[in-house]
């Protein structure tokens, strides 16, 4: 068990190192930091001085190492636009995105798991067709159009929810609904497949033969066994939502990581872009790592690979 976690952790670190190197390359490609920092009209001497001071005249790999050492100490550069440390910006903006993502994934799980399990319990029947339809709508509807539809219906027609801003819990409902709809298809599919597989298994037949009541069979046995793939999918979907929320944050004017990235791109503020990419990737890597560890605890077979 310890060795499984150690190896899994090693992989996560390796992935993060690779991504940090890629993001560092992106930062380097975005132009000469010394020139951007010196500002327009400054002399070549000053640019050269900045280059020396910050070590930007050294070989790329040395620069990466210096950057990495600093990054691990919490210093990931300064924003050109805001002039404040990038770390502060990320820490400020992350909670909004995390709250939005968490709310979306909870909404998606609460609707998609029951729907998927019901569909798997009665394959080919009406409820299965409904689940299929929802999944189809989910994969085909562009998230920004769905957001506008929600605004038009819930915000304007019925005027039950605020249409923009991120001040309160209620502000997050509509954007979370849009995001949730996007991740429902995968969860529906996986819980439907899990249910079908469980229904065919021997232990369900045994449970039935023992005379357990149907709802106990499905809630007690089946739910637990569809949990392993659902945990895996949910962690992945949560990761997707954090990265994919840029469109929704943009429409609903929620000042999260996605909005920050979008602004930073438009202002050529690449230290911020780099940090945002790193933060979202790190969130994904940590989430999937946690999910794998949780799954290993639920299902001992995983430990024995």
């Amino acid at each position: 068990m310890a060795s499984y976690i150690a190896r899994r952790l090693g992989l996560a670190v390796l992935v993060m190192l690779t991504i940090s190197f890629l993001s560092f390359l992106m930062l380097k490609m975005s132009g000469d930091l010394a020139i951007s920092m010196a500002g327009e009209g400054s002399g070549a001497d000053y640019v050269e001085f900045l280059r020396k001071t910050y070590g930007w005249d050294k070989p790329l790999i040395t620069q990466y190492w210096d950057w990495l050492v600093k990054a691990l100490q919490g210093d990931i550069g300064t924003s050109f636009y805001y002039g404040s440390p990038v770390m502060t910006l990320i820490v400020e903006r992350m909670p909004a995105t995390l709250a939005l993502g968490a709310m979306a994934i909870v909404m998606a799980l609460c609707t998609a798991i029951p729907l998927g399990m019901a569909a798997g319990r009665y394959p080919g029947r009406l409820i299965d067709k409904v689940a299929l339809l929802v999944a189809l709508l989910g994969v085909s509807t562009p998230i920004f159009w769905l957001s506008f539809l929600l605004i038009l219906v819930l915000g304007l027609q019925f005027a039950v929810l605020p249409i923009s801003g991120g001040g309160s819990f209620r502000h997050l409902i509509m954007p979370a609904m849009a995001l949730a709809f996007y991740s429902m298809p995968a969860i529906i599919r996986i819980s439907r497949a899990g249910m079908i597989e469980v229904m065919r298994s021997d232990y369900i037949r045994t449970a039935r033969a023992k005379g357990l009541r149907p709802h106990r069979i499905y809630l007690g046995h089946a739910l637990r066994n569809t949990l392993v793939p659902v945990v895996a999918v949910a962690s992945v979907q949560f990761g997707f939502l954090l990265g994919g929320s840029v469109v929704v944050e943009n429409i609903f004017a929620i000042h999260g990581i996605g909005y920050l990235t979008w602004e930073a791109i438009n202002q050529n503020d690449y230290p911020v872009v780099q940090a945002a990419l790193l933060a979202v990737s790190a969130a994904y890597v940590v989430l999937t790592l946690l999910a794998d560890i949780v799954n290993m605890m639920i299902d001992p077979r995983i430990r024995l690979d």
Partner: protein, 295 residues
């Protein structure tokens, strides 16, 4: 030692796309939708009622024909600059489809190449490829795509290259798992005994067996590419005005959404129909070669 770990984690991540058993009915519906949109897109320069670029301040925000105040002259109305909406829609379809096809061609090349190598050679090659896949899946595709577009510029070709950098994962996984299955098949052993090179075996012996599943992957990934392009253009980091893209049309209309909601709904519905059509086609094709939904 770490191989099973990489493999488990990478394949577990790939349950993102649901399989939808739409059957042959779906295949026909999907094919019909795609054929109609393809027809409108390809012939747009000849059959579009107006130019997609011509502005007319006196004809701003005319409503579509199905609403009060609409006319047959502008079937889907005009936008805030007086440009004919149907014509812009038709020209936008050209770009969407072009980006879809272009992206898929490139990403298929990458994914199939890596998948063949990983599945055929196994061992260390497989390890490296699966690590690449894990890294790719850990990158937030939307954020990285907009960052790269912002950094490198948004020419049509660059956008296809950038999207192709991200959409090879499904090609890789399908190719790899099937190649592993065929690696020790008798016809491959025969080819090896006949002295064929590894490359020859992969391309002319194994690859032909993978065509039908890969066509399905290509179809579904094309839907993915089109949605991404629309989102990029919506964020102002894709197709540039005055060219027309469905995502861009929604972005241009968003200030009018409260007064003229159809301006947003027409291109939104268009994207929905196209993506649903492609999904139907892909899932329908899958049900043709794997009726039990096994793959």
């Amino acid at each position: 030692m770490t191989m099973p770990i990489i493999e488990d984690t990478a394949t577990a991540r790939l349950w993102k796309r649901p399989r939808l058993p739409v059957g042959r009915f779906g295949l026909i519906v999907g094919a019909a939708i795609i054929a109609a949109i393809l027809f409108a897109a390809l012939l747009a320069p000849w059959i579009a009622p107006h130019s997609p670029y011509d502005q007319s301040l006196t004809n701003r925000l005319i409503k579509p024909v199905f609403m009060d105040g609409g006319s047959w002259n502008h079937v889907l109305g005009t936008d805030h600059l007086g440009r004919d909406y149907l014509s812009r829609l038709m020209f936008g379809a050209r770009l969407s489809l072009m980006i879809g096809f272009g992206t898929i061609l490139m990403s298929a090349l990458v994914g199939i190449g890596l998948g063949l190598a990983a599945g055929y050679f196994g061992g260390r090659v497989d390890l490296v490829v699966m690590f690449l896949l894990t890294v790719r899946l850990s990158l937030p595709i939307m954020l990285v795509a907009i960052s790269l577009v912002g950094l490198l510029g948004n020419s049509l070709f660059l956008m296809m290259v950038i999207l192709a950098c991200f959409l090879w994962d499904q090609f890789l996984v399908v190719t790899r798992s099937l190649t592993m299955r065929f690696r020790d098949a008798e016809f491959v052993q025969a080819a090896r005994a006949a002295g064929l090179s590894d490359r020859k075996i992969m391309i002319s012996e194994i690859l032909p067996n993978l065509v039908s599943p890969l066509v399905v992957v290509a179809t579904l990934e094309m839907a993915h590419a089109i949605l991404l392009e629309a989102a990029l253009s919506f964020l102002g980091l894709g197709i540039r005005p005055p060219d027309s893209s469905w995502g861009l049309m929604i972005a241009e209309a968003k200030d009018f959404v409260f007064f003229e909601p159809w301006l947003v709904n027409v291109p939104g519905l268009a994207i929905f129909i196209l993506v649903a059509g492609i999904t139907f086609l892909g899932e329908g094709l899958r049900s043709l070669y794997a009726p039990d939904g096994s793959r």
